[in-house]
Protein backbone atom coordinates (compact mmCIF):
# COMPACT_ATOMS: atom_id res chain seq x y z
CA UNK A 1 0.00 0.00 0.00
CA UNK A 2 2.76 2.38 0.97
CA UNK A 3 4.55 1.57 -2.23
CA UNK A 4 1.53 2.54 -4.26
CA UNK A 5 1.01 5.68 -2.23
CA UNK A 6 4.63 6.59 -2.69
CA UNK A 7 4.31 6.09 -6.43
CA UNK A 8 1.17 8.20 -6.54
CA UNK A 9 2.70 11.00 -4.53
CA UNK A 10 5.86 10.94 -6.54
CA UNK A 11 3.80 11.17 -9.71
CA UNK A 12 1.88 14.11 -8.29
CA UNK A 13 5.05 15.94 -7.47
CA UNK A 14 6.54 15.06 -10.82
CA UNK A 15 3.58 16.66 -12.52
CA UNK A 16 3.78 19.56 -10.15
CA UNK A 17 7.39 20.14 -11.10
CA UNK A 18 6.43 20.21 -14.76
CA UNK A 19 3.77 22.79 -14.05
CA UNK A 20 6.25 24.87 -12.06
CA UNK A 21 8.64 24.68 -14.94
CA UNK A 22 5.92 25.81 -17.26
CA UNK A 23 5.31 28.87 -15.13
CA UNK A 24 8.99 29.70 -14.80
CA UNK A 25 9.51 29.57 -18.51
CA UNK A 26 6.41 31.56 -19.38
CA UNK A 27 6.49 34.08 -16.57
CA UNK A 28 5.19 36.59 -17.48
CA UNK A 29 6.29 38.61 -14.47
CA UNK A 30 9.51 38.16 -12.58
CA UNK A 31 7.39 37.56 -9.51
CA UNK A 32 5.79 34.59 -11.26
CA UNK A 33 9.13 33.07 -11.98
CA UNK A 34 10.37 33.54 -8.46
CA UNK A 35 7.16 32.13 -7.11
CA UNK A 36 7.34 29.13 -9.39
CA UNK A 37 10.97 28.51 -8.51
CA UNK A 38 10.10 28.64 -4.85
CA UNK A 39 7.29 26.20 -5.44
CA UNK A 40 9.69 23.99 -7.25
CA UNK A 41 12.03 24.08 -4.27
CA UNK A 42 9.22 23.09 -1.96
CA UNK A 43 8.17 20.28 -4.25
CA UNK A 44 11.72 19.05 -4.35
CA UNK A 45 11.86 19.07 -0.57
CA UNK A 46 8.79 16.91 -0.55
CA UNK A 47 10.34 14.57 -3.08
CA UNK A 48 13.54 14.31 -1.07
CA UNK A 49 11.64 13.34 2.05
CA UNK A 50 9.59 10.97 -0.04
CA UNK A 51 12.73 9.41 -1.38
CA UNK A 52 14.02 8.96 2.17
CA UNK A 53 10.82 7.14 3.07
CA UNK A 54 11.03 5.03 -0.03
CA UNK A 55 14.62 4.03 0.71
CA UNK A 56 13.99 3.84 4.41
CA UNK A 57 16.93 6.02 5.27
CA UNK A 58 17.40 9.33 7.03
CA UNK A 59 20.49 10.10 5.00
CA UNK A 60 18.69 12.56 2.78
CA UNK A 61 17.25 14.63 5.60
CA UNK A 62 20.09 17.14 5.62
CA UNK A 63 19.66 17.66 1.95
CA UNK A 64 15.99 18.45 2.40
CA UNK A 65 16.71 20.72 5.34
CA UNK A 66 19.38 22.55 3.43
CA UNK A 67 17.22 22.93 0.34
CA UNK A 68 14.59 24.51 2.53
CA UNK A 69 17.11 26.95 3.93
CA UNK A 70 18.72 27.98 0.71
CA UNK A 71 15.35 28.06 -1.00
CA UNK A 72 14.24 30.70 1.46
CA UNK A 73 17.40 32.70 1.21
CA UNK A 74 17.56 32.69 -2.53
CA UNK A 75 13.91 33.55 -2.97
CA UNK A 76 14.29 36.50 -0.65
CA UNK A 77 17.42 37.50 -2.49
CA UNK A 78 15.73 37.38 -5.88
CA UNK A 79 12.93 39.52 -4.53
CA UNK A 80 15.21 41.95 -2.76
CA UNK A 81 17.16 42.33 -5.96
CA UNK A 82 14.07 43.37 -7.82
CA UNK A 83 12.85 45.51 -4.98
CA UNK A 84 16.02 47.24 -3.90
CA UNK A 85 18.81 46.28 -6.29
CA UNK A 86 21.29 45.66 -3.53
CA UNK A 87 20.37 42.55 -1.64
CA UNK A 88 22.46 43.23 1.45
CA UNK A 89 22.37 46.99 1.54
CA UNK B 1 19.56 6.56 -16.43
CA UNK B 2 23.02 6.75 -17.87
CA UNK B 3 21.59 8.22 -21.02
CA UNK B 4 19.81 10.90 -19.04
CA UNK B 5 22.95 11.83 -17.18
CA UNK B 6 25.05 11.81 -20.33
CA UNK B 7 22.57 13.93 -22.22
CA UNK B 8 22.26 16.29 -19.28
CA UNK B 9 26.02 16.70 -19.26
CA UNK B 10 25.95 17.24 -22.98
CA UNK B 11 23.17 19.79 -22.81
CA UNK B 12 24.81 21.77 -20.06
CA UNK B 13 28.11 21.65 -21.86
CA UNK B 14 26.56 22.85 -25.08
CA UNK B 15 24.69 25.62 -23.31
CA UNK B 16 27.75 26.54 -21.33
CA UNK B 17 29.98 26.68 -24.37
CA UNK B 18 27.49 28.75 -26.30
CA UNK B 19 27.21 31.29 -23.53
CA UNK B 20 30.94 31.28 -22.95
CA UNK B 21 31.36 32.42 -26.52
CA UNK B 22 29.17 35.52 -26.04
CA UNK B 23 30.57 39.00 -26.06
CA UNK B 24 29.52 40.31 -22.67
CA UNK B 25 30.88 39.26 -19.36
CA UNK B 26 27.64 38.28 -17.75
CA UNK B 27 26.63 35.55 -20.18
CA UNK B 28 30.20 34.35 -20.16
CA UNK B 29 30.04 33.95 -16.41
CA UNK B 30 26.78 32.08 -16.76
CA UNK B 31 28.32 29.91 -19.44
CA UNK B 32 31.29 29.06 -17.29
CA UNK B 33 28.98 28.31 -14.39
CA UNK B 34 26.99 25.95 -16.61
CA UNK B 35 30.19 24.36 -17.79
CA UNK B 36 31.32 23.83 -14.28
CA UNK B 37 28.01 22.15 -13.45
CA UNK B 38 28.48 19.96 -16.48
CA UNK B 39 32.00 19.00 -15.64
CA UNK B 40 31.10 18.28 -12.05
CA UNK B 41 28.45 15.83 -13.14
CA UNK B 42 30.86 14.43 -15.69
CA UNK B 43 33.51 13.88 -13.07
CA UNK B 44 30.94 12.37 -10.78
CA UNK B 45 29.78 10.01 -13.49
CA UNK B 46 33.32 8.73 -13.92
CA UNK B 47 32.61 6.71 -10.76
CA UNK B 48 29.65 5.17 -12.57
CA UNK B 49 26.06 5.60 -11.44
CA UNK B 50 24.48 3.79 -8.56
CA UNK B 51 21.28 4.19 -6.62
CA UNK B 52 20.86 4.00 -2.86
CA UNK B 53 24.49 3.12 -2.28
CA UNK B 54 25.69 6.30 -0.59
CA UNK B 55 29.26 5.93 0.58
CA UNK B 56 28.31 6.28 4.22
CA UNK B 57 29.54 3.15 5.92
CA UNK B 58 26.89 1.23 7.73
CA UNK B 59 27.79 -0.87 10.72
CA UNK B 60 24.77 -3.03 10.35
CA UNK B 61 24.60 -4.11 6.78
CA UNK B 62 27.09 -5.43 4.34
CA UNK B 63 25.95 -3.46 1.35
CA UNK B 64 27.99 -2.19 -1.56
CA UNK B 65 28.74 1.47 -1.93
CA UNK B 66 29.06 3.87 -4.77
CA UNK B 67 32.56 5.05 -5.66
CA UNK B 68 33.40 7.75 -3.12
CA UNK B 69 36.52 9.02 -4.79
CA UNK B 70 34.91 10.88 -7.70
CA UNK B 71 32.50 12.38 -5.23
CA UNK B 72 35.36 13.75 -3.20
CA UNK B 73 36.97 15.03 -6.38
CA UNK B 74 33.77 16.73 -7.42
CA UNK B 75 33.48 18.36 -4.03
CA UNK B 76 36.93 19.76 -4.41
CA UNK B 77 36.13 20.86 -7.94
CA UNK B 78 32.88 22.52 -6.87
CA UNK B 79 34.62 24.48 -4.18
CA UNK B 80 37.41 25.54 -6.46
CA UNK B 81 35.09 26.58 -9.21
CA UNK B 82 33.07 28.53 -6.67
CA UNK B 83 36.14 30.48 -5.70
CA UNK B 84 37.02 31.01 -9.32
CA UNK B 85 33.53 32.12 -10.23
CA UNK B 86 33.49 34.57 -7.36
CA UNK B 87 36.76 36.04 -8.53
CA UNK B 88 35.51 36.18 -12.08
CA UNK B 89 32.37 37.97 -11.02
CA UNK B 90 34.39 40.51 -9.12
CA UNK B 91 36.88 41.05 -11.89
CA UNK B 92 34.16 41.48 -14.44
CA UNK B 93 32.53 43.99 -12.16
CA UNK B 94 35.86 45.73 -11.86
CA UNK B 95 36.35 45.72 -15.61
CA UNK B 96 32.87 47.11 -16.05
CA UNK B 97 33.37 49.88 -13.57
CA UNK B 98 36.72 50.80 -15.04
CA UNK B 99 35.56 50.87 -18.63
CA UNK B 100 31.86 51.61 -18.30
CA UNK B 101 30.95 48.70 -20.51
CA UNK B 102 30.96 45.01 -19.91
CA UNK B 103 32.30 43.87 -23.22
CA UNK B 104 34.76 41.09 -22.87
CA UNK B 105 36.80 41.61 -26.00
CA UNK B 106 39.66 44.05 -26.06
CA UNK B 107 39.47 46.51 -28.90
CA UNK B 108 42.95 46.44 -30.39
CA UNK B 109 44.54 49.80 -29.99
CA UNK B 110 46.01 50.74 -33.34
CA UNK B 111 48.47 53.56 -33.23
CA UNK B 112 48.68 55.84 -36.21
CA UNK B 113 52.42 55.93 -36.54
CA UNK B 114 54.53 53.02 -37.48
CA UNK B 115 57.06 51.94 -34.92
CA UNK B 116 60.28 52.18 -36.84
CA UNK B 117 61.44 52.98 -40.30
Amino acid sequence: MIEAALAFTAACYGLALLLDLWRIVLGPHAADRILALDTMVINVIALLVLYGVWRGTAIYFEAAMLVAMVGFVSTVAYCRFLLRGDIIE
Amino acid sequence: MELLVASAIGTMTAGGVYLMLRLRTFPVILGLALLSYAVNVFLFSSGRLSIDMSPILSKYSDTSYSDPLPQALVLTAIVISFGMTAVLVMISLGAYLEADNDEIDIEPEITDEDSAT
Binding site: C12, L15, A16, L19, D38, I42, A46, F61 | -
Partner: protein, 120 residues
Protein backbone atom coordinates in the same frame (compact mmCIF):
# COMPACT_ATOMS: atom_id res chain seq x y z
CA UNK C 1 4.19 -3.05 9.73
CA UNK C 2 0.97 -2.28 11.40
CA UNK C 3 -1.86 -1.88 8.93
CA UNK C 4 -3.09 1.19 10.77
CA UNK C 5 0.28 2.74 10.24
CA UNK C 6 0.24 1.73 6.61
CA UNK C 7 -3.11 3.34 6.13
CA UNK C 8 -2.13 6.51 7.90
CA UNK C 9 1.14 6.70 6.09
CA UNK C 10 -0.46 6.08 2.74
CA UNK C 11 -3.19 8.55 3.52
CA UNK C 12 -0.72 11.21 4.47
CA UNK C 13 1.22 10.55 1.32
CA UNK C 14 -1.82 10.75 -0.91
CA UNK C 15 -2.99 13.95 0.73
CA UNK C 16 0.45 15.38 0.30
CA UNK C 17 0.59 14.41 -3.33
CA UNK C 18 -2.78 15.91 -4.07
CA UNK C 19 -1.97 19.21 -2.39
CA UNK C 20 1.44 19.33 -3.91
CA UNK C 21 -0.11 18.92 -7.32
CA UNK C 22 -2.90 21.38 -6.70
CA UNK C 23 -0.42 24.03 -5.62
CA UNK C 24 1.40 23.85 -8.88
CA UNK C 25 -1.78 23.44 -10.84
CA UNK C 26 -3.00 26.69 -9.38
CA UNK C 27 0.24 28.28 -10.31
CA UNK C 28 -0.52 27.50 -13.90
CA UNK C 29 -4.22 27.91 -13.89
CA UNK C 30 -4.87 31.16 -12.04
CA UNK C 31 -4.89 34.24 -14.19
CA UNK C 32 -3.13 36.92 -12.18
CA UNK C 33 0.12 36.87 -10.35
CA UNK C 34 -1.41 37.81 -7.03
CA UNK C 35 -3.93 35.00 -7.36
CA UNK C 36 -1.20 32.59 -8.25
CA UNK C 37 0.56 33.60 -5.09
CA UNK C 38 -2.17 31.87 -3.09
CA UNK C 39 -1.81 28.52 -4.71
CA UNK C 40 1.63 27.22 -3.87
CA UNK C 41 2.26 28.97 -0.58
CA UNK C 42 -0.74 27.29 0.86
CA UNK C 43 -1.09 24.02 -0.92
CA UNK C 44 2.53 23.09 -0.82
CA UNK C 45 2.75 23.69 2.88
CA UNK C 46 0.27 20.98 3.51
CA UNK C 47 1.85 18.96 0.75
CA UNK C 48 5.20 18.93 2.38
CA UNK C 49 3.53 18.56 5.76
CA UNK C 50 1.86 15.39 4.57
CA UNK C 51 5.11 13.88 3.43
CA UNK C 52 6.76 14.83 6.65
CA UNK C 53 4.02 13.27 8.72
CA UNK C 54 4.28 10.17 6.58
CA UNK C 55 7.98 10.09 7.11
CA UNK C 56 7.68 10.45 10.87
CA UNK C 57 5.10 7.73 11.03
CA UNK C 58 7.10 5.50 8.75
CA UNK C 59 10.28 5.73 10.75
CA UNK C 60 8.44 5.29 13.98
CA UNK C 61 6.75 2.25 12.60
CA UNK C 62 9.86 0.72 11.14
CA UNK C 63 12.42 1.52 13.85
CA UNK C 64 10.36 2.24 16.91
CA UNK C 65 12.15 5.53 17.47
CA UNK C 66 10.27 8.74 17.27
CA UNK C 67 11.80 10.72 14.47
CA UNK C 68 11.35 14.44 14.97
CA UNK C 69 13.71 15.99 12.55
CA UNK C 70 11.01 16.10 9.90
CA UNK C 71 9.36 18.59 12.23
CA UNK C 72 12.27 20.90 11.73
CA UNK C 73 11.61 21.16 8.05
CA UNK C 74 7.98 21.85 8.75
CA UNK C 75 8.83 24.52 11.29
CA UNK C 76 11.27 26.07 8.94
CA UNK C 77 8.80 26.18 6.07
CA UNK C 78 6.12 27.53 8.32
CA UNK C 79 8.37 30.31 9.44
CA UNK C 80 9.60 31.20 5.99
CA UNK C 81 6.55 30.79 3.78
CA UNK C 82 4.86 34.05 4.90
CA UNK C 83 8.04 35.99 4.41
CA UNK C 84 8.44 34.58 0.95
CA UNK C 85 4.85 35.29 0.03
CA UNK C 86 5.20 38.78 1.36
CA UNK C 87 8.32 39.42 -0.66
CA UNK C 88 6.91 38.01 -3.85
CA UNK C 89 3.77 40.03 -3.46
CA UNK C 90 5.80 43.15 -2.93
CA UNK C 91 7.97 42.35 -5.89
CA UNK C 92 4.92 42.12 -8.07
CA UNK C 93 3.33 45.22 -6.66
CA UNK C 94 6.44 47.32 -6.85
CA UNK C 95 6.89 46.54 -10.52
CA UNK C 96 3.28 46.42 -11.68
CA UNK C 97 1.08 48.48 -9.38
CA UNK C 98 1.11 52.07 -8.25
CA UNK C 99 0.03 53.24 -4.83
CA UNK C 100 -3.12 54.60 -6.41
CA UNK C 101 -4.10 51.13 -7.57
CA UNK C 102 -4.36 50.04 -3.96
CA UNK C 103 -6.82 50.87 -1.20
CA UNK C 104 -5.61 53.54 1.18
CA UNK C 105 -3.76 52.50 4.26
CA UNK C 106 -5.72 53.12 7.40
CA UNK C 107 -2.84 54.51 9.37
CA UNK C 108 -0.82 57.71 9.24
CA UNK C 109 1.50 56.48 6.58
CA UNK C 110 0.86 54.88 3.24
CA UNK C 111 2.00 51.45 2.23
CA UNK C 112 5.62 50.77 3.03
CA UNK C 113 6.35 49.83 -0.54
CA UNK C 114 5.67 53.33 -1.78
CA UNK C 115 6.30 55.52 1.18
CA UNK C 116 9.28 56.18 3.37
CA UNK C 117 8.99 55.22 7.03
CA UNK C 118 8.28 58.00 9.51
CA UNK C 119 11.35 59.75 10.81
CA UNK C 120 12.12 58.48 14.29
Amino acid sequence: MNLIFEIFISGALVVSGIFGFVGSYGLVKLKSTLQRLHAPTKATTLGVGGVLVASMLYFYASTGHISVHEMLIAVFLLLTAPIIANFIAKTYMARNLRASDLPKSQSRKGWALYEDPPKP
